[in-house]
Amino acid sequence: MLTALLLIPFIGGLALLLLPSSVAPVRMRSVAIVFLSLQLLLSVALLIPFDPSVGTPQLVEFTPWVSRIGLDYRLAVDGLSLPLILINAALTLVSAVCTRDISQRPRIYFSMLLLISGAVNGAFLADNLLLFVIFYELELIPLWLLIAVWGGANRGYASTKFLIFTAVSGFLILAAFFGLALVSGSVNFNITPALTENLPVATQLVLLVTLLIGFGIKIPLVPFHVWLPDAHTQASTPVSVMLAGVLLKLGTYGLLRFGLGLFQEVWPLVAPWLAIWAAISVLYGSLAAIAQSDMKRMVAFSSVGHMGYVLLAAAAATPTALLGAVFQMVSHGVISALLFLLVGTVYRKTGTRDLSVIRGLLNPERGLPLTGTLMILGVMASAGLPGMAGFISEFLVFQGSIQAFPLATLLSMVGSGLTAVYFLLLVNRAFFGRLAVTPVEDPVAHGRLDVQLAAVAPRETIPAVALALSVVGIGLIPSALSRISDSATQLMAQMPGGMG
């Protein structure tokens, strides 16, 4: 069953590549959507055999592969990876559906999208370090292509930056794993704390720090976030959705699975530093977001801030905090995907994302009222307003962390307050006031009467509405998610490294 989760997107991607290029782009999108819907169905169906009361990896599928180097084909799923599998399936589908401009090489575009989704599934399911690395690397190049080929004007710079940073990230992770194998003398790359059992503390620390930097680039944490805002601003909307909603989660997933999971002995040693790092990331992301006038850059910096909560939770490693980390990964995935979708809609209709230019989009007849309404919902969710996904996630993270790291937690909460500042600036500037899409400095043009934006067709809003509903759904019925993850996070917290 888990293998099928890899096969569906990979076969889909291959099938698309083999389609004759004469096939209409819309058809190609339909093919991609069919495969992605299948993937989503299968991911949801995974809930049936999945036993939520078991915290350890389950539904294991094992085939010896290149056992000589410790590379085995070993897949498993647990409460940590299952929500991310679901998010991946859902958001890739959303990405495909919301792809509008598909005139340019649709075949490759959609096959890359499917390839990424399959690779991400592989990384989340891999129960073998090397297998994880392979999938982790596998997702990298297609994404780079998606930015470099289908991106904005400055895509060359942004995609190169992305590639270099994430390649380094992959390299560091690989190096840490190899180093681990080298020093432990094991040929076993299965994920077990036993790997680090007899290593000297200093060695463990070196390996852990290497790993942390590797994943820190991907998450991204300050100061390794430099690639993210550029990548987002140059990437097209669907790619941003994938990047923010799914791919950043690889970093936090790795942090929890391999950082906390493998290095339990030294984890408490680095945890206080991680908490400080988290608080810095949160505040840095929030403050930088305030200063942005490009809506997409603002959302990108908010990601930097919000992923910091996951690091905070990982540092505290209490059952509540770790559950909060899972919640935060899921809710950040859904919320940031929603926000990027909406910013994308604004950009497509107005031709700009500049907050000094756009005004009054709530105008019911000529503006984008539904987009505005969903945007208000999205930013409120992101700012942690109760009843939506962001609140319960942040609450769990903060509540789980405050006793271990009171100061870092309080600072992170300040960051959560700052989220409201920049997102309110965004909403009030772009959506309130009189409708205008011309620079404010040119008052004559700014007050134009004949502002004519294309309407958003009801069909175009379906993905955003679906995401908004799930944001509210998770916020009101969080137990649906906690039921999946509670055992796994509890188990993780009870390991020696955890505080449970």
């Binding site: 290149v66 000589r68 180097i69 410790g70 590379l71 490759i108 090397l130 690397e137 596998l138 190049i141 297609p142 470099a148 080929v149 060359g156 710079y157 190169t160 930056k161 270099i164 100061p223 430099v226 840095y284 403050l287 930088a288 977001a289 305030i290 200063a291 059952p319 509540t320 559950l323 009054g360 709530l362 019911p364 309404t373 208000i376 307003l385 109760p386 609140f391 319960i392 609450f395 769990l396 509540q399 405050i402 006793q403 937690t409 309080l410 909460m413 959560s416 307050g417 700052l418 409201a420 500042v421 309110l424 009030n428 959506f431 309130f432 006031g433 137990s479 509670d486 509890q490 449970g500």
Partner: protein
């Protein structure tokens, strides 16, 4: 679930849902799905849900009066480390507050049908009112701090949306933002305390927290610093909600919103905030500092608010600052451990203030004007509006034995023994309020008709009816008090207090009757007086103060961070990038269109990597 409880109580979870369901019911009109027909059915449906809410609340209230209060809970979110529940404390006070909130919402909604009769976005307005009402019902009934926080924050959101209702109006844009952010500051501080309490006390149930606080106080198991911080956080939330100094600015700006929402905001919402404070009150024993802060803030707000109010020329703002002032007195009452007086004052103030805002709404609807210097002579022509204003004024001050008279009497009595220095605060607030009411009354209702008030027919029945009904309720407040709390009556308030309250009111009335009325845009020629006038009219320049401190500080940090990010970090990365051996030129091939070859390259790279691995392991 307790099966022996009557159905009305078992179904009490419905109570906030009556309001919230209004949101869903309004959607077809609010979103424009219904294009040919007008939005009024949404309003009627909301009214219907509110009536159901009032009826359900009354049923429960009647049962609880007979059988005593119950706490009723439903599980919401249970994990290995946490158990969050939805719990309602169906006590007499809470249910009285619920009735207050729902009836206020009902009256406000009927009033809005008249006030907003030419409003095309009516459905959205009623959806927001429904949300507002649901959140308020949740706040007053909540039996645990988590739920209280949850719904308080929803209240913040609905305030933002209601103030932002006329989103295209330029001042609304900033007003909505400031209202949200100010309240949010309080909320985040409150959240810090909630999170801390959840971690240290292990439960967020009010009863458990009270027991925990008592135990901690006895054994000193948490540090005084932590206790103080928790206490300060707990009062920060209600401070923001109740528009207390220094977080009062938003209420002024929130007056940009529609008047029916202002009615609710100045009566019901602030009451909700204060009720939360009452509920966390027993926890403040952790921290004497927090209680002192409460007392100081209450005092400053009471007098500061009343002073600022008398310098306002905007008719809505003249009374919204009074809200800050009265809630300041409520804070004082809570700080000096007089919860019953606090509750009575909340009700007396809430009803009278709602009435005065209805009257003000009538004036604005008739004259298209909020500037009291441009108004005048409405008295002989608008009986319902004038009568309501007078009754509300009497209910707010201690001049006639209506609601606030008894509250002030009780408060003075309560303060006399331990806090005699606070008695003048109460009396001064009362006198200033009386002054303000008479000043506005003379200017708006007496005086000669001005151009904008030459033709002022009384408002339509949809506004007049709720106004007159509420006026009757305000007149009956002493009776209601007597039924709920038999202690409030002539027999308990000392003669001295009664005399003090009446005299202080009369002083205000007499002075206000004597002063010269403002002409449009007029200011005193006497410079010190003018300076004082401006200081008060511009609210002690609070807005300017914030802009040059907090706002400037955050903006500065944001700019610094951004500059660091762009100028240092990115530049450094670019420098390293260009000098590194990874040539951007080579990678730019992708753009040139040979993507297929790139996929091959990638696959090749992975194969190579794996081969290297095999080779390395083998070696």
């Amino acid at each position: 679930m307790n099966a022996h409880l009557p159905l009305s109580i078992q179904l009490s979870w419905l109570i906030p849902l009556y309001g919230f369901s209004g949101v869903l019911l309004s959607l077809p009109w609010a979103t424009g799905w219904v294009k040919r027909n007008g939005p009024r059915p949404a309003a009627y449906l909301n009214l219907l849900m509110t009536v159901l809410g009032v009826a359900h609340g009354s049923l429960i209230l009647a049962w609880v009066q007979q059988n005593g209060g119950v706490v009723i809970e439903w599980p919401w979110f249970e994990t290995s480390g946490l158990d969050l529940r939805i719990g309602f404390d169906l006590s007499l006070t809470n249910l009285a507050a619920l009735e207050f909130v729902t009836i206020m919402s009902l009256l406000g909604q009927v009033f809005a049908l008249g006030y907003l009769d030419k409003e095309w976005s009516l459905a959205r307005f009623y959806a927001l009112l429904g949300f507002f009402e649901g959140a308020m019902a949740g706040v007053v009934l909540s039996s645990n701090l988590f739920l209280s926080y949850f719904v308080l924050e929803m209240l913040t959101l609905s305030t933002y949306l209601l103030v932002g209702f006329w989103y295209a109006q330029p001042l609304v844009v900033t007003a909505a933002r400031d209202a949200f952010l100010t309240k949010r500051v309080g909320d985040v501080l409150l959240l810090m305390s909630v999170v801390a309490l959840a971690a240290w006390a292990g439960s967020l149930d009010f009863e458990d927290l009270y027991a925990w606080a008592a135990q901690v106080k006895a054994d000193g198991s948490i540090s005084p610093l932590l206790g103080t911080l928790i206490g300060l956080g707990l009062i920060a939330g209600p401070m923001g909600k109740c528009a207390q100094f220094p977080m009062h600015l938003w209420l002024d700006e929130a007056m940009e919103g529609p008047n029916p929402a202002s009615i609710l905001r100045n009566s019901a919402v602030v009451t909700c905030g204060a009720l939360v404070l009452l509920k966390v009150m027993p926890l403040l024993q952790l921290s004497p500092v927090a209680i002192d802060v409460l007392l100081i803030i209450g005092t400053i707000s009471a007098i500061g608010g009343a002073l600022v109010a008398i310098a306002q020329v905007d008719i809505k703002r003249a009374f919204s600052y009074g809200t800050t002032s009265y809630l300041g007195l409520v804070f004082v009452a809570i700080a000096v451990q007089q919860p019953i007086v606090a509750v009575l004052l909340l009700f007396a103030h809430g009803l009278a203030k709602a009435l005065i805002f209805m009257s003000v709404g009538s004036v604005i609807a008739t004259t298209n004007c909020q500037d009291i210097t441009e108004l005048g002579g409405l008295g002989p022509r608008m009986p319902a509006t004038t009568g309501s204003y007078l009754i509300a004024g009497a209910g707010l001050t201690g001049v006639l034995p209506l609601g606030c008279f008894w509250c002030f009497g009780l408060l003075v009595d309560g303060l006399w023994a331990n806090y005699p220095w606070l008695v003048p605060v109460v009396l001064l607030t009362n006198a200033l309020t009386a002054f303000n009411l008479v000043r506005v009354f003379r200017q708006v209702f007496l005086d000669k008709p001005h151009p904008k008030t030459k033709r002022t027919p009384e408002v339509n029945w949809l506004m007049a009816l709720p106004m007159v009904s509420l006026a009757v309720v305000v007149l009956l407040v002493p009776l209601i008090f007597h039924r709920i709390y038999p202690i409030a009556g002539v027999e308990v308030v000392s003669l001295f207090s009664m005399v003090a309250v009446v005299v202080s009111s009369l002083v205000g009335v007499v002075i206000a009757s004597g002063i010269a009325l403002d002409k449009f845009g007029s200011r005193s020629v006497f410079k010190p007086l003018r300076t004082l006038q401006d200081l008060l009219a511009y609210d002690f320049y609070t807005e300017r103060f914030y802009r040059s401190t907090v706002v400037a500080f955050v903006a500065f940090l944001a700019r610094i961070t951004d500059a660091f990010d762009r100028l240092l970090l990115n530049r450094f990365v670019n420098r390293v990038g260009t000098s590194s051996m990874v040539s951007a030129e080579g990678l730019r091939l992708a753009v040139s269109g040979q993507t297929q070859s790139y996929v091959l390259t990638v696959l090749l790279a992975i194969v190579l990597l794996l081969s290297a691995l095999v080779w390395w392991r083998a070696a």
